[in-house]
Symmetry: C2
Subunit: 215 residues, 2 copies
């Protein structure tokens, strides 16, 4: 997507800062101390401030006048709003994928699905990594770069919520079933059904996330 790798310090700072936010090393609600982070990254405040502006435009940070940047805190309403956006995007992606998929796309989707099942039966939890990989594969099949881009941004914010669903076995099982149903619809080229399944899938995930936020 982007160049081999960001050569500018600001570009690198974007990546590092993003990681700090997404891993929770900078907890939600906390302020971003420019001098401290800049020193930690071994750069000056200039490039760091540029990186902060970039991430703020992505929605991963919020800017408060004269108080710098903060990691945004999400309440229940925000989660719902976020999933309405995600549903709009991923349903469209699922429909497009059903109309445009090629054999390679299908192979890729099935590979991810099978790896999930293997892991699950081997007693390994369904890792978020594989869920992400599935949605990623679906996006590739949809061949809509702008939609894919936005989905990635939304998924980042979902990660930011850090509501870990990985321990919930019934949820994992339901998700894997959703994924397989989706694959069938995509293979059949049934756009409408693919969209419906995706809607159901995301509605389940959203509900799960809301209840898991209530503690």
């Amino acid at each position: 997507m982007t160049q081999p790798l960001h050569l500018s310090l600001a570009g690198q700072a974007v990546d590092v800062l993003r990681e700090l936010v997404l891993t929770g090393e900078l907890p939600a609600g906390s302020r971003v101390n420019e001098v401290e982070i800049a020193h930690r990254l071994g750069i000056s405040r200039g490039p760091l401030r540029e990186a902060i502006r970039g991430l703020a435009a992505e929605g991963l940070l919020e800017l408060v006048p004269h108080r710098g940047a903060r990691v945004p805190m999400a309440d229940q309403a925000e989660v719902k709003a976020l999933f309405e956006l995600r549903t709009a995007l991923e349903c469209a992606a699922a429909e497009l994928a059903a109309s445009r998929r090629t054999d390679v796309d299908i192979a890729r989707l099935r590979a991810v699905s099978e790896e999930s099942r293997r892991n699950y039966h081997a007693g390994v939890k369904f890792p978020y990594r594989l869920d992400l990989a599935f949605h990623q594969a679906l996006l590739e099949a949809a061949r809509s770069p702008r939609i894919a881009e936005q989905v990635r941004l939304v998924q980042q914010k979902v990660v930011l919520l850090r509501a870990r669903l990985e321990d919930d076995a019934p949820h994992q099982f339901a998700s894997m079933d959703d994924h397989d149903e989706l694959i069938n619809a995509v293979v059949a080229g049934d756009a409408q059904r693919a969209g419906q399944i995706m809607r159901k899938h995301l509605s389940r995930v959203c509900a799960q996330m809301i209840t898991s936020l209530a503690d």
Copy 2:
């Protein structure tokens, strides 16, 4: 949404630069000379660079290593990809609006529609301003802040294309009809139909924009 008003120079620079890009004062494909713009805004390069990063994250500028920022140029493929995104977002918005609309929402939609008809019959061209107002009113009725936010960003990029459709009378008429059909579907609470009409509407606009880009 954002703060009362940007007090920081970088914040103001974002607004001014955005205007410069959207009005075409900085033509598509042109490079953004930091010293020149900074001098023109009466600020130093620091805040300006922050503003550039922000707009780049919005997609209104593209960053090239050691070559600064450029106003992106859109080809036909880009227009299609952009409208796939817009369709995904606005169809979802139309569906949500049909399920959530209140009397105030309906009144607002009808007011915009009637103003359009009045203008048209008075021989005034259908201004882009009113088209925007209609879609804006629909977004308010949908009550989905994150979707609304993304639609605004997409609409900005559509403006960037600067394919002026305002002179095309048949297109204007068709658009106004689409809008009225949409209002009917929304009033009836028919989400599915609202989505279909929006899809048709945007597909027409997209086609129009592509042909108007071919010169």
